[in-house]
């Protein structure tokens, strides 16, 4: 006796989606933890020291969170106006932050009150950072100047005014304590050398620069601004290596992962994109609001994203260990233990093993199909959750009903809601629907609108088909003229890619419409 064969859900491969190790790596993050802050989060910085706490700058305060805590373990609230750009020193013990009023404050991680205050900027300081020797602080301000401060004496060492607009991006070199890179709204990125006291390199980004970033090797420099992400090669004198345009709104932040040095960019279009080493998008994280800041923990343990609505979303890496503990905990449940007595029993060599029949678990719609409850099965398949998140299941059930010749019965006696399903566009189904509800169509404006839309979609599809055929015709003539043979024997075949494209379109048309 054969068992019931469940409905086969047709799995269509998504074109363009490539499953590589990289995407698997980036998919391996848990669902994000959301922490609400008081205002837009402008800067996130991870401490370089092992617990890898991170400082979140939002509104008038800087919070420091532990790697897994939802509550701040420390907060610096002594700002009179909006705080900007809170960053750790290389040893993770000091924190520097700018502010709207132009004051730069230096905090001890364990203290509460500012250890030093650097006064001198006349406008808001959006970017501050320690230089890699740890004794100097560099800041970029809206007063077009870039200043370097001495930490022990709290005096200004130098002031560089080479930009012609607000300085909103700053990155110190980690290898050389005298180098840092700034990006400004005047569309330029400049590399400064403290030893010469002026910029040594200038690159034209072409858009207001929102963020600059140095790769760990400090050969490559990334600048973001507008919709573009540009990578510059510093060893070749600032030659543009690549220009990426994968976001459709301003790219506000960028960071480099510590495993494999992959570039991540966040944008106001609410996406974080991960690029592989050939600068193709390997993965994409979706967020709820426009992204202002982003940071990734050492070893990629966590990815923190700050958004305009003040929500900090932290994704932690999923570990093999976590999974194991989860399953083992589940396995230790009492009921299971009761039922599987002697599960540790090892059969001896001449024992005859009698295997238990494996119970077949069926989905709800399959159970209903098994008992020939076609209408109920369609109900199940049309549940809101199924039809929004798994439209292929709904389509599969409809196809199955059609195969059983009971689609008409299942569709009868329904209200207009059924037609609101977007994937509900299987040819046969629409035909049956039209057959069934022809008389009452005009009574519902919703359905009429839907039909209108369907007609538009079909029209567009037909146009597209026509265009494709035209292209095919052009190609055909090209190919025939290219063939050296004299006799015109056959229509030369178009390249496979095009045929596949046409096929794909045909298939899509058949399945979706």
């Amino acid at each position: 006796m054969a068992s019931f064969k469940p409905t086969k859900v047709q799995f269509l491969p998504k074109l363009g989606e490539k499953v590589t190790e990289e995407t698997l790596y980036w998919k391996n993050y848990k669902s994000p933890v959301q922490i609400k802050e008081f205002g837009a989060i402008t800067k996130i910085d991870f401490s370089p020291l092992p617990p890898h706490n991170y400082a979140v700058t939002a509104s008038t305060r800087i919070h420091i969170y532990g790697p897994h805590s939802q509550e701040p373990i420390r907060s610096f609230t002594r700002f009179r106006d909006t705080a900007y750009g809170g960053r750790f020193r290389g040893d993770g013990k000091l924190l520097v932050a700018g502010s709207e009023e132009g004051l730069i404050r230096l905090f001890d991680i364990s203290g509460r009150v500012a250890l030093r205050q650097f006064k001198g900027h006349s406008k808001a300081v959006h970017m501050t950072s320690f230089l890699s020797d740890g004794f100097r602080v560099v800041s970029g301000s809206d007063d077009l100047s870039c200043r370097v401060w001495d930490v022990p004496s709290a005096v200004e060492l130098s002031s560089l005014t080479q930009h012609t607009d607000y300085i909103r991006a700053l990155a110190p070199s980690k290898l050389n304590p005298d180098l840092f890179v700034t990006g400004s709204y005047d569309h330029t990125v400049k590399v400064f050398d403290m030893r010469s006291g002026s910029s040594v390199m200038t690159m034209q980004h072409g858009h207001p620069v929102e963020c600059v970033l140095l790769y760990p090797s400090e050969v490559l420099l990334v600048s973001t601004g507008g919709r573009y992400v540009k990578v510059w090669d510093l060893l070749k004198g600032g030659q543009e290596l690549v220009s990426l345009k994968n976001h459709h709104k301003t790219v506000t932040c960028a960071c480099v992962s510590s495993v494999g040095n992959k570039l991540l960019t966040g944008s106001l279009d609410r996406h974080v994109k991960v690029y592989n080493s050939s600068y193709k998008v390997a993965h994409n994280f979706d967020c709820d609001a426009s992204i202002l800041s982003m940071a990734i923990a050492p070893d990629d343990e966590a990815l923190a994203v700050g958004m305009t609505n003040g929500v900090l979303s932290v994704r932690h890496r999923r570990h093999q260990k976590d999974k194991e503990t989860l399953t083992s905990r589940r396995r230790r449940g009492p009921s299971y233990q009761v039922f599987v007595k002697g599960k540790n029993f090892a059969p001896r060599q001449d024992d005859f093993l009698v295997s238990k029949p494996v119970k077949q678990y069926l989905r709800k719609y399959d159970k209903q199909l098994k008992s020939f409850e076609v209408s109920k099965a369609l109900d199940t398949a049309l549940q809101t959750w199924t039809r929004t998140s798994k439209p292929d299941v709904t389509v599969a059930v409809i196809i199955e009903l059609n195969r059983r010749g009971t689609l008409k019965n299942a569709l009868a006696g329904r209200n207009e809601e059924i037609l609101l399903f977007k994937g509900f566009l299987h040819v046969k189904c629409v035909c049956v629907c039209v057959d069934l509800y022809q008389q009452v169509f005009h009574e519902s404006p919703v359905v009429e609108r839907l039909l209108q839309r369907l007609m538009e979609v079909l029209g567009r599809e037909a146009e597209l088909q026509q265009e494709l055929l035209q292209v095919l015709g052009i190609l055909d003539t090209l190919f025939t003229s290219l063939t050296p043979r004299k006799e015109v024997a056959a229509l030369a075949a178009p390249p496979v890619a095009f045929v596949m494209l046409i096929d794909g379109v045909m298939k899509a048309k058949k399945i979706i419409i």
């Binding site: 006796m1 054969a2 068992s3 019931f4 064969k5 469940p6 409905t7 086969k8 047709q10 491969p13 998504k14 074109l15 363009g16 490539k18 499953v19 199909l369 098994k370 199955e400 195969r403 059983r404 010749g405 040819v427 046969k428 024997a489 056959a490 229509l491 075949a493 178009p494 496979v496 890619a497 045929v499 596949m500 096929d503 794909g504 045909m506 298939k507 058949k510 399945i511």
Partner: protein, 814 residues
């Protein structure tokens, strides 16, 4: 002509086992079923075919256990004989010649020595009118007896044998025809008939389809075309009869059957669900769904422990009384038509063709055994008349048997055709094919033909479709999806002047691909996909296309619809020869240069075997069969024959099998081969008289040895287990019909040997007792003094059986 007669057409294996209800032996060890012109005996436990009872010369149309001896079986056949067999040893005991084609057989315990047979009314045999006759089987010791004592019980009965059934203790016989139920009472010699209206209020069809009688109660269960089951009672009176209706089946009930105690009623129909109704408990029922094809017959063993259902897909299912399937006996599945060609799996050398709906079956021709079904469609099969089902329409193996390509199709009747191309890879671990790639829209229209390339290095599949294109499919990376390497994707699309391609074929070394576009044959190079040349021989569309093999690989042979068989030489690109012959099927032999062509002319099919390099046929066989022939295949032999005969030489490397339109699988065989087969089958009969089980190997031999020891002085007898002792001579005088069952004899023997002196007196006493009893009976019965010889013998038998039974009691007492 002498040489030609040596090769003849032979029907080979795979005959229907579901024509008549199977029967289970009393000890539940064997299942017997009518299969072609023989009765096959299967083991219920191992599902193995043990042996077959061969002797009929035409289709066996009915089998039934001998009610007088449960180790014997009656079979009737369309050749007009009833034969009595010992089915355990496979020995023909007796043949009764009736003289008319027989269609069914019934027996009843009450009617000893009488069998009831269906024969066609000789007045108008075309009208499918049948009559039921009772035949008194004469008791003579001869092997062949003519039974001429026919007495008609009823005329104008239904041709369906399941529409006739014996009632309680053989008192009456019920038969139904169309809308009428007739009950014939033997004692009153009267027929009562009850009829139903053609349709009831709801418009259901009321015609009878099957009938069963309760074994202990006066109740008849009838199945109807609309799926209802009616239970008739009180039919002793013509007027006051009653019936109750039960309805579960949604289509015609094919069979109803009471269990031997009458506690349950089993029914089955097209839905392939076995339903068990509790007798007298209203609507309480149990189901056993998804048994396979539609249920045609149900039978039960005499102890009610086993049920047997036979299905339309040539299958017998053995079911325990707890409603669990415990065995499946599968024959060659024959659907309505073979849509795929006959194919040979290069790995297992099994014949592959359409099996169950949506499946491909693998059938071993050597062992005449169904190997397995491969589920192609992988969807729940709904048994419903008129439903458009997915069917496997095309299938092809690559040369190593590593890949299998299938096309399934649905909606041939309606306008919207659904089809998909599937590619299956052979999995060494599971020893079966595993789905690798599914291509849902391989073409925009129906796929006409497909073939794999014949080279061993690269595997390529070419499909031609009605949309005017042919496509080449290769295994490899798809640029768009970029998945694993071993999926299949399209490599090339070709077309020719918007003509519809029909056939495709690769040359023996895969360096050329021939695709026929209606009248034109195009030759392509699969490496560069360049059109090399075109060949054309109008008029007539190309119907079949194949390349020559081995040394003739430079030839391309094609047949056209306008009765033309053409052969081109591809080196000169010119027509080598052509001949005017209507060829319905062209089949090249992969192991030799030979090509077989079946031609259909003036209502019979002829076979020509030729080599492409010479236009004269190598071998001709006129009048192979009377139907048109579309499917044929060359099956490579296990070991090549070494016939030197010119006419049978072409059969040396491989054997030609073909399938006629009414699904008979036939083959050509030579005389020497048949001799060999015959000798081997004889050897089989001697060896495998008992089921070869491990127990048999241990115990059977032991028993044989014992027997030898026990009977050193007795001469060899024709019966395998010769009774000995004082009863032997008495028993030997009996006709074999009255042989007591094996077990009883053994017990009496033992008793004979063991009880020597002590019980001798008791024994005699018992004997006296029984004789007294008999005498007492006799005094009641007036006729006793003039007992006929047969009756006397019967009495003796009764005495003997009683005797052993008593002896058993005595044994147990102390």
């Amino acid at each position: 002509m002498v040489e030609q007669s040596e090769v003849r057409v032979v029907r080979c294996g795979g005959s229907k086992i579901n024509l008549r209800p199977p029967i289970i032996s009393t000890d539940s060890r064997f299942v017997l079923c009518a299969s072609g012109d023989s009765v096959k005996v299967y083991s219920t436990r191992t599902e193995e075919w043990l042996h077959s009872l061969q002797g009929h010369t035409n289709q066996v149309t009915g089998i039934t256990l001998n009610p007088a001896n449960h180790l014997q079986v009656y079979s009737c056949s369309a050749d007009g004989t009833v034969k009595l067999w010992d089915f355990i040893d496979g020995i023909l005991i007796k043949t009764f010649i009736i003289g008319y084609p027989l269609f069914a057989i019934y027996v009843s315990e009450k009617h000893d020595g009488i069998v009831f047979l269906h024969i066609a009314m000789d007045t108008d045999s075309k009208n499918e009118c049948f009559q039921l006759v009772a035949v008194h089987l004469p008791k003579s010791a001869e092997q062949e007896v003519e039974a001429k004592e026919l007495s008609a019980v009823s005329s104008r009965i239904s041709p369906n044998p399941s529409c006739t059934a014996f009632g309680r203790e053989g008192q009456y016989i019920a038969f139904a025809r169309h809308l009428q139920l007739n009950v014939y009472f033997f004692r009153k010699q009267k027929t009562y008939s009850f009829s139903l209206k053609a349709t009831d209020k709801k418009g259901a069809k009321n015609a009878f389809t099957c009938i069963a009688c309760h074994p202990a109660d006066d109740c008849i269960a009838t199945g109807h075309e609309d799926g209802k089951i009616r239970l008739w009672r009180n039919f002793i009176h013509t007027k006051e009869y009653t019936y109750s209706t039960q309805h579960w089946h949604h289509n015609a009930v094919n069979t109803v059957c009471f269990t031997p105690e009458g506690t349950n009623l089993l029914s089955g129909g097209i839905e392939s669900v076995l339903v068990q109704w509790q007798y007298g408990a209203g609507n309480r029922k149990e189901f056993l769904p998804r048994l396979g094809g539609s249920i045609l017959h149900v039978s039960t063993s005499s102890d009610g422990q086993l049920f047997c259902t036979s299905h339309s897909d040539n299958k017998i299912t053995v079911i325990e009384s707890s409603f669990k399937v415990c065995g499946v006996i599968q024959g060659l599945v024959k659907g309505d038509a073979v849509l795929t060609d006959l194919m040979i799996d290069p790995r297992s050398k099994a014949l592959v063709l359409n099996g169950k709906p949506g499946h491909l079956q693998f059938y071993s021709l050597l062992r005449d055994k169904h190997l397995y079904n491969l589920d192609i469609v992988q969807q729940e099969y709904i048994y419903e008349a008129g439903l458009d089902q997915f069917e496997v329409v095309k299938a092809a193996f690559d040369i190593k048997g590593y890949w299998l390509a299938t096309v399934e199709e649905r909606g041939q009747k309606s306008s919207d055709l659904e089809f998909s191309l599937k590619l299956w890879a052979y999995d060494e671990r599971t020893q079966s094919f595993v789905l690798n790639t599914t291509i849902t829209a391989a073409h925009t229209d129906r796929i006409m033909s497909m073939c794999f390339s014949s080279s061993e290095e690269t595997t390529m599949l070419v499909t031609t479709a009605e949309d005017g294109q042919f496509k080449a499919w290769c295994q490899g990376a798809d640029a768009d999806t970029q998945q694993d390497q071993n999926f299949w994707s399209c490599d090339f699309v070709g077309s020719y002047h918007n003509l519809k391609p029909t056939n495709c074929s690769f040359s023996a070394d895969s360096s050329l691909l021939a695709v026929s576009f209606q009248e034109v044959i195009t030759i392509w190079s699969p490496d560069t996909w360049e059109l090399l040349t075109t060949l054309c021989q109008p008029p007539g569309v190309v119907r079949d296309l194949c390349f020559g093999q081995l040394s003739c690989s430079k030839y391309l042979i094609a047949t056209t619809t306008r009765n033309l068989l053409c052969c081109w030489n591809l080196l000169t690109c010119a027509l080598e020869w052509s001949t005017s012959v209507e060829v319905s099927k062209l089949q090249p032999d992969p192991l030799s240069e030979n090509v077989a062509a079946f031609s259909y002319q003036s209502k019979h099919t002829d076979l020509f075997v030729f080599k492409p390099n010479e236009p004269r046929p190598l071998f001709t066989h006129k009048n192979v069969c009377s139907e048109k022939m579309h499917r044929a295949v060359f099956v490579p032999r296990e070991e090549p024959l070494n016939n030197c005969d010119e006419s049978s030489q072409w059969l040396n490397r491989s054997q030609l099998y073909f399938l006629t339109q009414n699904m008979d699988l036939l083959t050509f065989s030579t005389a020497t081969e048949e001799d060999r087969m015959l000798s081997s089958s004889k050897r089989l009969v001697i060896d495998d008289s008992v089921a070869v089980t491990p127990f048999y190997l241990l115990l059977g031999k032991h028993r044989q040895q014992q027997q030898k020891l026990n009977t050193p002085s007795h001469p060899a007898a024709d019966k395998p287990q010769q009774p000995q002792g004082s009863l032997t001579c008495l028993l030997l005088s009996f006709p074999s019909l009255f042989f007591p069952p094996e077990m009883e004899m053994e017990s009496s023997e033992q008793e004979m040997n063991s009880e020597k002196e002590e019980e001798h007196s008791e024994e005699e006493m018992e004997a006296c007792d029984s004789q007294q009893e008999l005498r007492a009976q006799g005094s009641v019965d007036e006729v006793t003094p003039k007992l006929s010889k047969a009756q006397e013998r019967e009495l003796k038998r009764v005495r003997k059986t009683d005797f052993s039974w008593m002896a058993g009691l005595i044994d147990s007492k102390p």
